[in-house]
Amino acid sequence: VNARLRPWRALAVVLTASGLALGAAAAAAAPGQPSARSGGHAARAVTAPAASTCDPKASSLRPAGPPQVTPGSFMAKIRARGYLVAGVDQSTYHFGFLNPLNGQIEGFDIDMIRAVATAIFGDASSAHLHLKAISDEQRKPDVMSGTVDIVAHTMTISCDRLKYLDFSSVYFDAHQRVLVLKNSKATSLDDLRGQKVCATTASDSVARIAAAKAIPVPVTYWTDCLVLLQQGDVAAISTDDAILDGLAAQDPWTKLIGPPIADEPYGLAISKQHPEFVRFVNAVLQQLRTNGQWAASYRHWIGTPVAPIPQAHYAG
């Protein structure tokens, strides 16, 4: 099976490389960009690149009040176009997955993005929301190139990604953990030293697997990891508990083990070109936190008890 995956991996390497090249190009272009941004945002641009002061959980832009489509804004452009284009996952159970029963992409992430579309267009018609299923490694390049307006894809806000993208405030608190088969004797990632552990290419889990001296096996989708685990080709899968819960829900013969390895705060990714959209999305998220919709989505997709709602912290 590993031999079969090689072409994917080769492709992954190419895509990662091209992603990095894109990132580098954008970084090179960055010095010239702050002037093109709105004044309020320029102040943050000075402080954000400094890695030492970076706090992924408090890096977003403060909303100016309730969500409003101001004339000339990116939201107005989207409204004129008629639909919002969102890059989403289609294979992560409970967050973004293609439901074979109705052919629709559904999940917690999709609820968040649907709320954003509803706020822009004033009605919940699905015609106003185009969901574009993308892979993990396409998230960054697609946001940067403007292929999608926003990404809702179990995407962790990280200092590295903040160099290239803007994120909304944290809408979900996840933690990296480990999923193994029920008969596994491993109790944490440290017990899997020298064994194969699966993660998706371009996820930040890959580096942590390598750091724990396990052998990372990168694939395209999280469900591909579950295929490998079921076929006995990897000993474990390591990523955010939110994703692992979705995999465990598809195979009752698996279990989550070990303490949280790292915090994985999820945010909606938006291009650095549209700070007003970041503020708008944060305003929508703030509404969801307070009007009970966030808790309702959590209850529907993830279950009870409902976790504490992640509170928004802003940098500017």
Binding site: W8, Q90, S91, Y93, L98, G103, A133, I134, Y221, V227
Partner: protein
């Protein structure tokens, strides 16, 4: 020519010829009965030599032609069928998966039929390679080539029969998960498709390539000229010797016709005409089989497989449904390969109907992609399953598969005719040479008796 004149006229003179061979002086000094006995021995030897040469030639062509019909053709046909069935199974499984939990009964049956067909063909090919009795008679280099190909083909077939259950297992799991509404199903389908394309199809393609090469070699051997030319020249030479012998006899014995030698000459003539005639007829049939049969059939088969893979890509793009578009890139690649246009697979088939049907499908595919890219995934899925794209692909697929089958039938009929042209030829050559020997003995013994 001059030497024969010397021998037959045989003037017993004392002319001082210095460079005379020892046997010639012996012959000239010999009595007529001794000369007759020598001639008889020579004729028997030549007749037997002719018999051996002609039978060998006949056997070479017959076994090469038999190999074309009995081993190479069935094996390459099996390999082609394995390849096509697997490609069709993959395309059908993907298309059925798109329908969700309630997959269409027709798709399910088609998938099952494809898998069954592939399994039967793998088994048949394995049996053929395992026995490969027909190949033991193959001449020289062809035999070496066949045994080398045989072991490689054996490995490929072992791989196929080992991995086919793994493939159907993954498709089955994909189907079960899909039925439960789990996204895991799509992952299993992708894994199955990767296994099929990465392992099973290359093995089938390898068998096909090797067997096609062998088919070409065997066909070339059956229709090749060198040996038959040598045989015909030898036959004509033997006829000339018989003619000179009877002239010499009639001069020395004052009888116009020696019936024994006449019989030998007739037997020689019949065997020569039969050999040459069988060769011309067999060669014609085998060349026809190649040019009007296996050649075009191969072209259609290649186009069909490329179309099937592109169709699987169309479905997998919709199942995968990410902007990742590996499958769509592959579709575009296959579209370029398929044509129509100079140097493409469709151009090789020469079918204008297939060309226009392919273009209709590309247009429908483009419309489908535009729909999907605009966010209308359900609409695109409907187009791929029952809409324009599905119908235009079905038309193209039917044209290509019918074209292939028509030419395969032409090949089978012509190749069989070609093989049959050589039937009994080797035995006939041996019988003829024995008749010639008998004729010579009978004819010359009657003259010899006159000296007793």
């Amino acid at each position: 020519m001059t030497t024969s004149v010397d021998v037959s006229s045989g003037p017993v003179t004392t002319a001082p010829v210095v460079r005379r061979a020892w046997w010639r002086s012996r012959l000239e000094g010999a009595t007529t009965p001794a000369r007759l006995r020598l001639l008889l021995a020579l004729l028997i030897l030549l007749s037997l030599a002719w018999g051996v040469l002609a039978a060998l030639t006949a056997n070479q062509h017959a076994s090469a032609a038999a190999d074309v019909v009995a081993v190479s053709e069935p094996l390459s046909l099996d390999a082609e069928q394995i390849y096509t069935s697997l490609s069709d199974a993959n395309a059908t499984a993907a298309s059925a998966f798109l329908a969700g939990g309630l997959e269409p009964a027709a798709d399910r049956q088609r998938y099952q039929a494809d898998i069954t067909k592939a399994a039967i063909r793998i088994e048949a090919a394995s049996a053929l390679v395992g026995s490969s009795a027909a190949r033991t008679e193959l001449p020289g280099h062809l035999k070496n080539q066949a045994s080398a190909a045989g072991s490689a083909v054996g490995d490929d077939l072992a791989m196929l029969s080992g991995q086919l259950p793994a493939y159907t297992d993954e498709v089955g799991t994909a189907r079960a998960d899909n039925r439960l509404g789990l996204p895991l199903g799509a992952a299993y389908l992708r894994a199955a498709s990767a296994l099929l394309r990465g392992t099973l199809l290359p093995a089938a393609s390898d068998i096909y390539t090797r067997e096609s090469a062998l088919l070409t070699s065997a066909s070339a051997q059956a229709t090749g000229l060198p040996l038959i030319v040598i045989a015909v020249v030898a036959g004509l030479g033997l006829g000339y010797v018989l003619y000179r012998s009877s002239r010499w006899l009639s001069r020395h014995t004052h009888r116009v016709v020696n019936y024994g030698l006449l019989l030998a000459a007739l037997a020689g003539l019949v065997s020569l005409v039969w050999l040459a005639g069988a060769f011309v007829a067999g060669r014609g049939d085998l060349l026809h089989a190649q040019q009007q049969g296996s050649g075009p059939a191969q072209a259609f088969a290649r186009a069909e497989v490329a179309a099937l893979q592109a169709h699987a890509d169309e479905s997998l793009t919709l199942i995968d449904n990410t902007g990742d578009d590996d499958y769509q890139k592959d579709y575009v690649k296959l579209q370029k390969l398929l044509g129509p246009g100079p140097g493409t697979l469709l151009a090789a088939t020469g079918s204008s109907q297939a060309a226009s049907q392919a273009q209709a499908w590309y247009r429908a595919h483009q419309a489908l992609r535009a729909q999907d890219d605009a966010g209308n995934h359900p609409g695109a899925v409907a187009a791929a399953q029952t809409g324009d794209a599905a119908r235009s692909f079905a038309r193209l697929s039917t044209t290509l598969s019918e074209g292939k089958e028509t030419h395969q039938a032409v090949f089978a009929a012509s190749a069989r005719n070609g093989r049959d042209a050589f039937t009994g030829l080797a035995v006939g050559m041996i019988v003829a040479s024995l008749v010639m020997v008998t004729g010579c003995i009978w004819g010359l013994n009657r003259r010899l008796a006159e000296y007793r």
